[in-house]
Amino acid sequence: MRQTGAAFHQQRVDSVKSSQVTVENVSKSFGDFSALKNASLTIAKGGFYSMLGPSGCGKTTLLRIIGGFETPTEGDVCFDGVSILPLPPNKRQVNTIFQNYALFPHLTVFENVAFPLRLKKIAAAEIKRAVQENLELVRMETESKKYPSQLSGGQKQRVAIARALINQPRVLLLDEPLSALDAKLRQHMLLELDAIHDKVGITFIYVTHDQAEALSVSDQVCVLNKGEIQQIGSPAEIYESPANEFVARFIGETNYIHGTIAAVTDNEHALFDSPDYGNFTIYLDKKVQQGSKVALTVRPEKIRVAPEKPDNLPPDVNVLHGVVEDMIYTGFQTKYFIRVSKDKEPLIVFRQHVQYFMDEKPISWKDKVCLWWNTKDSFMVEVSK
């Protein structure tokens, strides 16, 4: 039986050599262009840390700085409190899985994995044992005689993992390792990566622009945009309480509503006035003054939709009415675009088909519908005076 919980993980982490990584006020400029701006983050020993952001936001740059392939213009990078900036890449106890895997085409799978050990002039028998063990970890032991060109994408990726782990690095950097795989395989490899992380217990720094990947396996997620850190938090924090509009829009789909605080009704609630969607009650997750301009997000799956307003709605919900402008049926759910106000973006609503779809009261194009959500399900992302 597998032990569960943080205690088990902690036990593992203490027994393996993994490092805490701290990035302190790192900036990087290429000429006039600044690719990273004053980035600071701490990555826990043995953690699975994701860096998430759109293309060109500086993820690879930060990874290359940690790996030793770029020098930061300013700032410091430490492993367990000791700066690693003076060390060349080959002296850092960190290995990288590159986006294109970077397997050596002239070497067999076995020799690719053995490469780091051959450099160290380790005895052949020991190399054989270690390579075998690592290939077994990624379940590639039967393919050891093949050349990289004879492998599938997923297999190449596994070899890259085995090769990166054989030096027993303290930190493993993964630069969009799954982006070359198809959706099904990506899911599968992601779970495998997670399993390998549990097994080896070292710190993983995982770069991706796919939010689903980042949310599903990480302990911590750092969202980057244009070289600046937007938010650092657990996947749930990032998703449920995005720090700003960028994060809200980048992570999942969301409805974004601008308005003013019309009145603070009690310690926890306020009346919100949106020029586009009308008045409703919001939950105060931050302290705001009456009259402040506020932006709210409401996730589409938090909004319920029905052809008519149900009679038994609880008191703490906001109700709106609109017209179905468009709908996309995707099997397990339907995505509705519902127009509430004339010249604003329609609200996005997901309706899960938890019962047999054909039995549900149908909602279709051009129908007038009722929307409602719990006041606690909206979230304030920006407050300005």
């Binding site: 030793g68 890449p89 290995n95 050596f104 450099l119």
Partner: protein
């Protein structure tokens, strides 16, 4: 049915090769087995005299000298071309640098050799300079030896090593070097262990493109070599034009072709084996 145009496409090249390569080779081969005519040319009866006279220390010495020069020059050229090609491929000024290598080709081959004579000769630039600064009293003989031949051959032939190396290094994926460094290799080690094996086809081409013309070279040893540093090409020329022993000249050509082919085959075989 699709018509097979293959023969039509190959036709011109096949004709060219037959007329200007196979036929002359066959003529050379057959001349080498005939008796020599009195004033040049051949007599139409079979004779092994030409091959017998090859086994003569003077000829063998020239053959040995040719092999030494060809091997040394090839090694030097590939050795020098490798870092040059690497530098060009990694530079942001690729086109300019490639241009600089091509420019000398705009000048006639012989003129470029004579340029070296004016540099290395007794009254040449180098000697004038050395005497001018007082390093030597009299002129030093730089010309008319094996060193001068190798120098000029390297100068004239090295582009044929640089270009194929450049084109393979240019295509080489340098993220592999980063990967190797990431895995613990120093930069030099990474280049040696990862880049070199992956640009092997370029190295093979560079070796062949420099070895073959060097082995058959006769203009360079004729102009900047002495009689003691003659190469096979010079002997062939002498037998053709001066001694007028055409069968001997032919048999030497056959040997030259044969040795070149052998070297090429041997080299390609060893390369192929490593690739498997």
């Amino acid at each position: 049915m699709r018509k097979n145009y293959g023969p039509i496409y190959v036709g011109p090249v096949a004709f060219w090769l037959c007329a200007f390569l196979s036929v002359p080779l066959l003529i050379t081969l057959s001349y080498s087995f005939l008796a020599k005519g009195l004033y040049g040319g051949v007599e139409p009866h079979f004779s092994l005299a030409a091959y017998r006279s090859l086994f003569n220390t003077a000829v063998l010495k020239v053959l040995l000298n040719t092999i030494i020069i060809a091997v040394l020059s090839t090694a030097l050229m590939v050795g020098l071309a490798l870092p040059t090609a690497y530098y060009i491929a990694r530079s942001s000024q690729k086109n300019l640098l490639l241009m600089l290598i091509i420019i000398p080709f705009w000048t006639n081959f012989l003129i470029r050799i004579y340029a070296w004579i004016t540099i290395l000769g007794s009254n040449g630039l180098l000697n004038s300079f050395l005497m001018g600064v007082g390093l030597t009293d009299g002129p030093i003989q730089f010309l008319y030896n094996r060193g001068a031949i190798i120098l000029v051959i390297v100068y004239t032939t090295i582009p044929f090593a640089i270009f194929p190396l450049y084109s393979t290094i240019e295509k080489f994926d340098f993220s592999l070097i980063e990967a190797a460094m990431d895995l613990g290799a120093s930069k030099t080690k990474a280049l040696w262990k990862i880049m070199i094996p992956n640009i092997r086809s370029g190295i093979t081409t560079a070796v062949l493109f420099t070895f073959i013309p060097t082995f058959g070279n006769f203009a360079v040893p004729k102009l900047v070599g002495g009689t003691s540093s003659w190469m096979l090409g010079n002997l062939i020329e002498r037998e053709l034009n001066i001694t007028r022993n055409w069968p001997l000249a032919s048999s030497m050509s056959v040997v030259l072709t044969f040795v070149t082919m052998l070297a090429v085959l041997f080299f390609m075989r060893s390369q192929n084996k490593k690739e498997l």
